[in-house]
């Protein structure tokens, strides 16, 4: 599997710093589960965090009472014994963690709701203002109605593929569109395209029907 479209340096760096909103962080984490190259960059970002933390030489010395409390609570944990390891879940799965946790299961077990045009979605609950996340299922060969963006849209492919503005996007690839983009992504012919879509503002559909549907479905 070769991933050609990545999450972008500034987003990866913000994920490493911990300043990215939860919905976009979910997309970055799911991409990281599928992309060894971006994981090596995350290690680099966390090395930066570690080096900046390490370089603080002005911090007052540690409070020994906190250490005492820690050692006491470690001692009682040891008495209780470690809990039995949870059984490893059986794959294969379409959705990598942390996505299954957010969705409440893998693709086949979810409650998909129609948003029109054969497209179905599962909204994912994330905290914080700003971006929202949803899983989308687009029938093989069908397109998402032409739309523009008030903000930014990132789409991570999890199954199947889609074609958009001259490129194919396959499992693990991330497509990014901003307010300058009006597009009509088309799912590949081989199977339904399952993707995670994160947006920080409602899409602006060009045609009238999706615009009518929008208030009810919140895309």
């Amino acid at each position: 599997m070769t991933i050609e479209h990545h999450v972008g340096d500034e987003r990866l760096l913000a994920y490493g710093a911990g300043t990215l909103d939860e919905a976009t962080s979910l997309l970055v984490a799911a991409h990281l589960a599928l992309c060894p190259a971006c994981r090596s960059d995350l290690e680099l970002a966390e090395a930066v965090g570690g080096a900046l933390m390490e370089s603080d030489r002005l911090a007052p010395p540690a409070d020994e009472t906190v250490l005492d409390a820690l050692v006491r609570c470690i001692a009682c944990e040891d008495d209780e014994g470690s809990a039995a390891a949870a059984a490893a879940p059986l794959g294969p799965f379409v959705l990598p963690q942390p996505l299954r946790g957010y969705a409440g299961g893998d693709v086949a077990g979810l409650r998909w709701r129609s948003v029109g045009g054969g497209i179905r979605q599962v909204p994912l609950k994330t905290h914080g203002a700003g971006a929202t996340a949803r899983l989308l299922s687009i029938p093989a060969g069908k397109s998402v109605p032409e739309h523009g963006h008030s903000g930014f849209e990132a789409t991570l492919v999890l199954a199947g593929s889609f074609y958009d503005r001259g490129s194919w996007y396959r499992r693990g690839d991330v497509g990014i569109a901003d307010s300058a983009v009006v597009h009509r992504p088309v799912a590949g012919p081989e199977e339904d395209c399952i993707c995670l879509a994160v947006t920080d503002a409602p899409l602006k559909f060009v045609a009238a029907v999706p615009r009518l549907l929008q208030p009810f479905h919140g895309i």
Binding site: A33, I74, P98
Partner: protein
């Protein structure tokens, strides 16, 4: 050349030779990784105390800057080090220095506590996880060299780029907040972050090209 627990998965490109043995005295970075491994391997409480005395003050300063009041921060400090104890078995010295690994735990605690958001993270044990390709036997950087080169690479950045990294990683400010603080457009903040990261990657020679 590879001493178990003392290698990091970065190829050696633009650096001098790694020390083959352990004859010279180890600096703090090396020592801290070894202490963390001692906690993982045999629940070494003395090693844990050394880690706490070294990193505790720095983690506390980080949590204070990330927005906590002093009382809250002491609870979080305790939670962070309880997690260090509990998760030490997951520490992989080929991937991170002790400082980077403890930073990541403190960062996740602060997101949880101060922003009331969850921190989505991938899981290496998940069947859907795409594992790293097998290493090709290339020599790797010692943890100590890696930490030194990160410090050197940070020092070589422009002051503007370093400031964005510091506000972002150390003060936990979003790009939008940094833009307001510095009175510059958010696009400029993002491009400074991108440029800084690109330079760090060029200097530190990450595995990106070989993994993609």
């Amino acid at each position: 050349m590879k001493a178990p627990g003392n290698v990091i998965g970065f190829p050696r490109r633009s650096f001098g030779r790694a020390s083959a043995g352990r004859s010279e005295p180890a600096d703090a970075t090396d020592e801290m990784s070894d202490r963390l491994l001692a906690v993982a391997e045999h629940g070494d409480r003395a090693a844990f105390a050394v880690l706490f005395r070294h990193f505790g003050p720095r983690v506390r300063a980080y949590l204070l800057r990330a927005g906590g009041d002093a009382g809250r921060v002491d609870d979080l400090l305790q939670e962070t080090f309880a997690a260090v104890w509990r998760k030490a078995g997951q520490y992989d010295s080929r991937r991170a220095t002790a400082a980077a690994w403890i930073f990541a735990i403190a960062r996740n605690r602060s997101i949880d506590a101060f922003r009331r958001e969850r921190r989505p993270e991938f899981d290496r044990q998940d069947p859907a996880f795409q594992p790293d390709p097998q290493p090709d036997g290339e020599e790797t950087l010692a943890t100590r060299e890696r930490a030194e080169s990160v410090r050197a690479a940070l020092a070589a950045l422009s002051e503007e780029q370093r400031e964005v990294l510091r506000l972002s990683f150390y003060d936990g400010e979003s790009y939008a907040a940094i833009a307001i603080r510095l009175g510059i457009p958010v696009g400029t903040v993002k491009s400074r972050a991108r440029l800084a990261f690109r330079r760090l990657r060029a200097v530190l020679g990450g595995r990106r090209e070989e993994l993609r």
